[in-house]
């Protein structure tokens, strides 16, 4: 363990690596603060740019954007009553009233410090828990990998989607797309129509950049700002240092919220938003003065911020150890890992130990740096929000184009990005979730290969069900698909009783 920690330390003290972490934090806070640009879109847009970095540098940069973006979402929640991120919506409930009272600096200080502490805790969990989980996953055979991929897709489909049917449609599209090209297992061409470029399949970077980034451009293009937002306290904002001591009075709340956030983050398909809502509700439930929540109190800001950043580190645990992303942003990070030729999963911890521990160290430092950025840089981030929407939107578009073009230096990838941008826009407009589609593109080939290889080894499908871990995961997959139906049934019954 000590050796591993030394690897992590030597990675972060490298000046270039440190600069990359700092850049990730600054970019992340900006991305998080911009309403309409989520961390998943931000990370997707930045993904191609990180291809010129080493795998560890790339993942650390994206991880820093993820963590800082989650924290950055609280800036607009507090100052303008607009959550920059869905997971910052709960912070708005107490953050904005506090800012309205003329204490915006204090609210921002609380939010950024709570985010950083939540992130540091989850980074430590990641460092200690991920290798254990990876060691356990080393015993996995093809049946377990198949069941795991299926479990990841089914939980995201059922939990992340409002409608299971629409979630399944998105998953099916993703599963189909990943079959285009030359099949590794069968050695036959599928849906290539004689096109040489299609033989290598649809590259998932342009697809992901299109689905998250280009669709964001289109969405922003179709909305105009009709009212400029005013900072709640009506003037320049300076984050207050003094709030750090306030956390000493919130030890129990902090512990409870970070545990909730980390555990929720580990579960595929849930994430920071659910974590922050549960943490806030629990804070109200256990409080001696629940009536004060919503009026601008410290606990109301700290609880969701502890939880949503703790969920980031939590979501990275299954992503790195099992190759199952815990959130949409980690799905993009997973794609980044694969773009660097690495296969996420337990073997990553053996074959690329230095990279993994470099990422852990970098992620921990990124969370600590968030306090510095939050305390000294808020005025700058608030100014960036004043940049005209048209300019910001054009920057998003150019990043999408350059990112897609840069992979193979051809415009075909840019057209793929454009087409998937349109598809992503339409799917989201009509309530189809995008995360299952992306997840299916990533997990589909793993599931297919594991199924075929497993069938070759075992001779039938039966062992997939009878092996303890694989069977349990398959059972949980079925259960997670049925969960929305069971929930609807009980909700209807409850309503009928009330009526």
């Amino acid at each position: 363990m000590f050796d591993n920690l030394m690897i992590a330390a030597s990675f972060v003290v490298d000046p270039i690596n440190f600069f990359i972490i700092c850049s990730g934090v600054v970019l992340g806070i900006i991305i998080g603060a911009l309403p309409g640009l989520g961390t998943a879109a931000g990370v997707a847009i930045m993904l191609p740019i990180t291809l010129s970095l080493t795998p560890a540098q790339a993942i650390v940069m994206l991880g820093a954007i993820y963590a800082a973006g989650t924290a950055g979402g609280s800036i607009t929640s507090i100052l303008f009553r607009i959550p920059g991120e869905a997971q910052s919506a709960m912070t708005m409930l107490d953050g904005f009233p506090m800012a309205k009272r003329g204490e915006a600096g204090r609210a921002l200080g609380l939010a950024m410090t709570a985010s950083a502490l939540g992130g540091v805790f989850s980074a430590i969990v990641l460092m200690f828990f991920a290798p254990i989980l990876a060691g356990w996953a080393l015993k996995f055979g093809q049946a377990e990998y198949f069941a795991l991929a299926l479990f990841g897709m089914s939980t995201v489909t059922s939990l992340a989607a409002k409608s299971v049917v629409k979630g399944l449609i998105s998953t099916a599209i993703g599963l189909f797309l990943c079959t285009i090209g030359l099949s590794d297992v069968f050695g036959v061409e599928r849906f290539t129509f004689g096109n040489d470029d299609l033989r290598y399949g649809v590259s998932y970077i342009p697809v992901i950049v299109g689905i998250f980034g280009m669709s964001e451009f289109l969405r922003n293009a179709g909305t105009v700002v009709v009212r400029e937002h005013k900072i709640a306290e009506g003037g320049a904002v300076k984050t207050q240092f003094g709030v750090i001591k306030e956390f000493l009075h919130m030890k129990v709340l902090m512990f409870r919220s970070v545990i909730i956030g980390t555990v929720i983050g580990i579960l595929p398909g849930t994430g920071g938003t659910t974590g922050s809502v549960i943490a806030y509700n629990e804070a109200v439930r256990w409080s001696e003065h629940p009536e004060k929540f919503g009026t601008g109190i410290d606990e109301g800001i700290a609880a969701p911020e502890f939880a949503n950043n703790a969920a980031c580190g939590g979501a990275l645990v299954p992503t790195l150890t099992l190759g199952i992303p815990g959130s949409s942003t980690t799905a993009v990070i997973l794609a980044a890992l694969m773009s660097h030729g690495l296969t996420p999963g337990p073997n990553l911890f053996i074959q690329n130990k230095e990279m993994v521990w470099g990422v852990f160290g970098g992620y921990l430092v990124a969370n600590i740096l968030m306090i510095v950025a939050g305390l000294w840089g808020i005025w700058m981030f608030a100014k960036i929000l004043r940049v005209p929407r048209a300019i910001l939107n054009w920057v998003i578009f150019i990043l999408c184009v350059v990112g897609s073009f840069g992979i193979n230096s051809n415009l075909q990838d840019v057209w793929i990005m454009f087409a998937f941008g349109l598809l992503g826009y339409l799917l989201e407009k009509y309530g189809y979730p995008l995360v299952p589609l992306v997840l299916a593109i990533i997990l589909g080939p793993i599931a297919e290969a594991a199924l075929i290889k497993g069938m070759m080894v075992y001779g039938s499908f039966w062992p997939f069900i009878t092996r303890p871990i694989g069977g349990t995961l398959l059972f949980l997959s079925v259960l997670s698909m049925l969960f929305p139906l069971i929930r609807n049934y009980f909700e209807k019954r409850k309503k009928a009783k009330e009526a």
Partner: protein, 172 residues
């Protein structure tokens, strides 16, 4: 209407590609499953779920549909009111078209010239009228892009063809 068109499109798509999937050549080695199994499975799921969605949409009465659309619109308006934003269909279409033409033009003219020109055009159409802003912002943006992509991250950019390629080669 749009929802039904999309569900219908998915149904047709699934049927067409399923028939293509059936023609996938069998593997040379003996495998328990064939190459068309996985895409076939995905397309069956797509067809079945799209059909369920279509039936659900068709079974909705006009009143139900209108009530749902009104509720969705109300929710959206409340959110946009809080965000200080408004929908603009024309700008959305313009955004789609400018992106489409940018990708066509950038192939011939290159990144260096296309990006600031289209950016100025985009800013003008979206309501920016200050001449200084329309000139300075695109030039500043292209300088930052070149610094980021060419100097810092060595990402290749489209150079264009003919004379435009020569111009691009002077810079990157």
């Amino acid at each position: 209407m749009g929802e039904r068109v999309l569900a219908g499109f998915f149904m047709v798509f699934a049927v067409v590609f399923f028939s293509i999937a059936l023609q996938i050549t069998p593997p040379r080695v003996d495998t328990p499953l064939v190459g068309s199994f996985w895409p076939g499975l995905a397309l069956i799921i797509l067809f079945v779920c799209s059909s369920i969605e279509m039936v659900r949409l068709l079974r909705q009465s006009k009143t139900e549909r209108e009530a749902k659309a009104a509720a969705d619109e109300k929710k959206k308006q409340a959110l946009q009111e809080a965000m200080g934003e408004e929908d603009n269909r024309n700008l959305l279409i313009f955004g789609g078209f400018i992106a489409f033409f940018y990708i066509i033009v950038v192939h011939y003219v290159g990144f260096l010239i296309t990006t600031p020109v289209f950016m100025a055009l985009y800013m003008y159409v979206t309501g920016y009228r200050k001449k200084v802003m329309l000139v300075v912002a695109p030039l500043l943006a292209i300088a930052v892009f070149l610094l980021l992509f060419v100097v810092a991250t060595y990402i290749p950019l489209p150079r264009g063809i003919g004379i435009f390629k020569d111009i691009s080669l002077l810079v990157y």
